[in-house]
């Protein structure tokens, strides 16, 4: 049986290997999905991304901060069905600014150095999702969930 630590290790490995995540928000009940360049904190409690404040996703998450983020290792091959791992995190999104944002941005840019200019733009915001739980799907239909300590 998989242990807590093994589960966390698998999450960390997946987050290291992937650059992009799918973010789900909604506008008055209408779901909306978008692609974001993400970074996960070492303790796995937070997932962050940077977005222009003019976007639909930003409008949606500021009016309701409940979001889902999906990261997966699929490669657009038939073999994904037995090989890919997919993780969905659910939690609450909040905008981070001031000195708090600096430490996070250093780590974020270490993973996505080519986004330097984008990140520094005054029209962008750093968004951090505080994760409640993770749902991991592997072997096509095996699902385990990890509920983080509040």
């Amino acid at each position: 049986m998989i242990s807590n630590d093994q589960f966390r290790q698998r999450l960390a490995e997946l987050f290291r290997s992937q650059n992009l995540a799918t973010l789900a928000t909604h506008n008055d009940g209408q779901p909306y999905a978008s692609l974001v360049a993400f970074h996960a904190s070492e303790d796995l409690k937070h997932i962050c991304f940077v977005t222009p404040t003019t976007t639909r996703k930003f409008a949606n998450l500021t009016s309701d901060n409940r979001v889902a983020v999906m990261v997966n290792s699929s490669t657009n091959q038939a073999s994904d069905f037995h090989r890919a791992i997919s993780v969905t995190a659910i939690g609450r999104a909040e905008v981070v600014d001031g000195s708090d944002s600096e430490t996070i941005l250093v780590q974020y840019l270490a993973k996505h150095p080519h986004l330097e200019e984008f990140v520094r733009s005054p029209s962008c915001a750093l968004v951090q999702v505080a994760v409640d739980s993770y749902y991991m799907v592997k072997n096509f239909q095996n699902v385990m969930e990890l509920h983080l300590e509040p």
Binding site: S79, H82, R83, N139, E145
Partner: protein
């Protein structure tokens, strides 16, 4: 892409595309040896087939359902069966089929051929795992040859190959299979040559039989044996056997027949032939530059080589390696027929008689010393029958598998387990037992007073009819307080039985297994009609054998359980006495015998340590093997010890490590069955099918990840258990 190559066309770079067997045959041709007309279906054709039909990914999904290390042999067999059925039911893409049809039609027309596996991994000098893949002999007609090519491809994933996957380097992503199609030469004398004797490098060995080689290869026909001097090409010794049988072409491939008297008087080879056979094999050895194992046959007076491969030493499994034993469970039809006679005429009556004779002695009436002797005696008897169970009953269960394979080959159904429906509807002992329970529950349902006195635990108020039926039940099946496995943990008395009956009485009796007689008749007709007239009798015989094998798979445990119950009764009596006179007073002799038979103490099972962190890891969906179709939802009842069964409530989902027939009595109350142990033919799956319940087997951590009281949904179509609420 070259999908088909004749032996003359094969070049030195083609080894991986035609496999070891195909390549060796092409070298024989080049070196001037006579071989039967042969073509190779290359591994390119295999790749083409699995890519274009989507089978490639389906195989990968099948093999990645769970970790191989967690798979039991039965599950590996199931896995191989499902893959085999994919190959059987998927037709070849038109252009590929057309090309093979033309090549085969041109060369063989309506001649009989052998369709043999030629895996690129097989037959390497360092590999001693030949025979893990299938070969078929005496196949006639283009369509039949095409079907057998698919079967040989499927055998890349045979249970044997999967068991030895590491040794043969089976790679689920890359491995492929070439096929050799070779005209049958109906030789009247055949054999093998080892150009070098593994025990003496100056010698070689020739073995020869009348008829075809198969009897020699699988050991059913004893050969004449010559030890040869390698350098002088002379006979050192000749050992003739008692020549009784030979293998000749028959309706279902080949058949074993009695050897005509005029042949049995003489060795199949004259001394001159012996010399020629050995000389030819030595020439092959020179071509291949290493000692060879050559198969040959005489077509009239002309010597024909069938195949040549490097000599491989027999693999010797390590003592704790059980794979060789698993593979030994593949039995021949004749072997199973003999086993059936032994089991039905000898072993089952023997078990019943032993249980009866033991039950005539009441342990409560024996003085301590005699009780100790009685326990020892019962332990020995029980031990003896457990050994017989492993030696004879478990191999007999292969009758079901053999039938399954024949059925799938003949009918090619979409569901590879359709054949099980033809085997149910037999009078299983566990069903008879459950029906008796239903009758008892029915009496309680109709009798308020009876129900009340049982609730109070008041034995005195029971009416005679109920009491005598209960006694009869206990006499036959025990009081359900002990399981065969883990039976050291007994609850004394009839309490659990009454509790279970009261629960059953609260609800209407289940409809039971709806014996879909029409469907079974139809399946039976389809099965029989798919055989030629001369094979129909054999097909019926095999079905009959499979039915008996299926029924025994369940019944044998019940009979064994009766013997073990007698041992347990005596053990319980001893334990009772030890509790009554604890300390100094305790009868030493009883204490000693309990320790001897390993009933002395019960070590508590360790529970996994709780993790320090406040995070909560839980399962949402668990993937197992779909073993009974249907979908159902209910509260889980996780059986961790036998006494948990007594709490079983109507409508719950039975979640357990392994259902054995002695605990299937709660199944009529259950709404679905989930089992840690995997397999389609295990008791849990069989009994669930009998009651028409959704069933999933082979979920490694079922009893730890699921808790009693969890809401679970059992999807028996896909093999998925979902924990927590679902919309259904």
């Amino acid at each position: 892409m070259n999908w088909i190559l004749s032996t003359e066309e094969i070049q030195s770079g083609d080894r991986n595309r035609v496999g070891g067997k195909g390549y060796a045959l092409s070298l024989l041709v080049k070196n001037g040896f006579r071989i039967p007309r042969t073509v190779c279906i290359t591994s390119d054709a295999y790749h083409e087939f699995v890519l274009r039909t989507g089978l490639r990914e389906r195989i990968l999904l099948e093999l990645h359902r769970k970790d191989f290390k967690e798979m039991r042999w039965e599950e590996i067999w199931d896995c191989a069966t499902r893959i085999r059925n994919m190959f059987l039911t998927k037709t070849l893409p038109d252009d590929l089929a057309q090309e093979i049809r033309t090549a085969i039609g041109d060369r063989f027309r309506d001649k009989s051929v052998a369709v043999r596996s030629s895996a690129p991994e097989e037959d390497d000098a360092q590999s001693s795992f030949a025979g893990l893949h299938e070969s078929y002999i005496n196949v006639t007609g283009v369509e039949s040859i095409l079907k057998h090519i698919r079967l040989v491809w499927a055998s890349l994933w045979s249970d044997a190959a999967l068991l030895y996957r590491q040794e043969i380097g089976l790679d689920v992503e890359k491995s492929s299979m070439a096929v050799v199609v070779q005209e049958t030469v109906v030789g009247d004398r055949s054999g093998v040559v080892f150009t070098q004797n593994p025990n003496d490098e100056n010698q070689g060995i020739i073995e020869s039989v009348y008829g075809l080689n198969q009897g020699l290869v699988d050991g059913t026909v004893e050969p004449d044996r010559w030890i040869m001097d390698r350098d002088r090409n002379t006979i050192v010794t000749h050992t003739p056997p008692e020549r009784k049988y030979w293998i000749i072409p028959g309706p279902n491939g080949v058949r074993l027949a009695e050897l005509p008297a005029e042949k049995s008087a003489h060795a199949p080879l004259k001394p001159r032939d012996v010399g020629l056979v050995f000389k030819t094999a030595r020439q092959a050895e020179e071509s291949f530059k290493m000692p060879q194992d050559v198969e040959w046959t005489y077509d009239g007076d002309s010597l024909v080589l069938l195949q040549s491969r490097p000599i491989t030493t027999l693999r010797s499994d390590k003592p704790d390696d059980e794979r060789g034993w698993y593979l030994s469970l593949h039995r021949s039809f004749d072997n199973l027929k003999n086993l059936r006679r032994k089991i039905e005429d000898e072993l089952i009556p023997g078990m019943i008689a032993v249980a009866e004779s033991l039950s005539a002695i009441d342990p409560a009436g024996l003085p301590d010393e005699d009780l100790a002797a009685e326990i020892r005696k019962r332990w020995e008897i029980n031990h003896k029958w457990v050994n017989i169970y492993w030696a004879d009953f478990i191999p007999y269960a292969h009758g079901v598998r053999m039938f399954g394979q024949v059925y799938n080959d003949a009918v090619q159904p979409d569901d590879p387990y359709e054949f099980i429906d033809l085997l149910t509807n037999t009078d299983m002992a566990s069903i008879a037992r459950n029906n008796m329970l239903m009758d008892l529950a029915g009496m309680i349902r109709n009798d308020q007073d009876l129900a009340e006195s049982l609730k109070q635990g008041d034995d005195s108020g029971l009416d005679d009819k109920f009491r005598s039926l209960t006694d009869e039940f206990i006499g036959k099946f025990g009081d359900l307080s002990c399981a065969v496995t883990g039976g050291k943990n007994c609850v004394l008395g009839t309490g659990p039985l009454y509790r279970l009956l009261l629960e059953m009485a609260k609800h209407p009796s289940p409809a039971g297994s709806d014996k879909k007689v029409h469907r079974i008749d139809r399946l039976h007709q389809t099965y029989i009609n798919s055989f030629d007239d001369d094979q129909k009798v054999w097909a019926e015989e095999l079905l009959e054998l499979a039915r008996s094998s299926y029924q025994l798979r369940d019944d044998d445990n019940i009979y064994l359980g009766r013997i073990e119950a007698q041992l347990l009764t005596a053990v319980q009596e001893a334990k009772r006495r030890l509790e009554e006179h604890s300390g100094e007073q305790a009868p030493k002799i009883l204490k000693q015998v309990l320790e001897e038979v390993d009933f002395g103490s019960i070590s508590p099972k360790s529970t996994p340590a709780a993790t320090a962190s406040g995070d909560k890891l839980q399962a949402r969906q668990l993937l197992g093997q779909p073993a009974g179709p249907g979908i159902a939802k209910g509260r889980a009842r996780v059986i961790r010890k036998h006494s948990d069964l007594a709490d079983f409530k109507y409508g719950e989902v039975l979640v357990c490590d392994a259902v054995d027939p002695n605990i299937t009595f709660v199944v009529p109350l259950a709404t679905a069955v989930v089992e840690r142990r995997g397999g389609m033919l295990i008791h849990g799956a069989i009994i669930a099918r009998e009651y028409g319940l959704p069933c999933i087997t082979g979920i490694p951590d079922a009893t730890t990840l699921i808790e009693t009281g969890d809401q679970v949904t059992v999807d028996g179509y896909l093999g998925i258990v979902t924990i927590g609420d679902t919309v259904l």
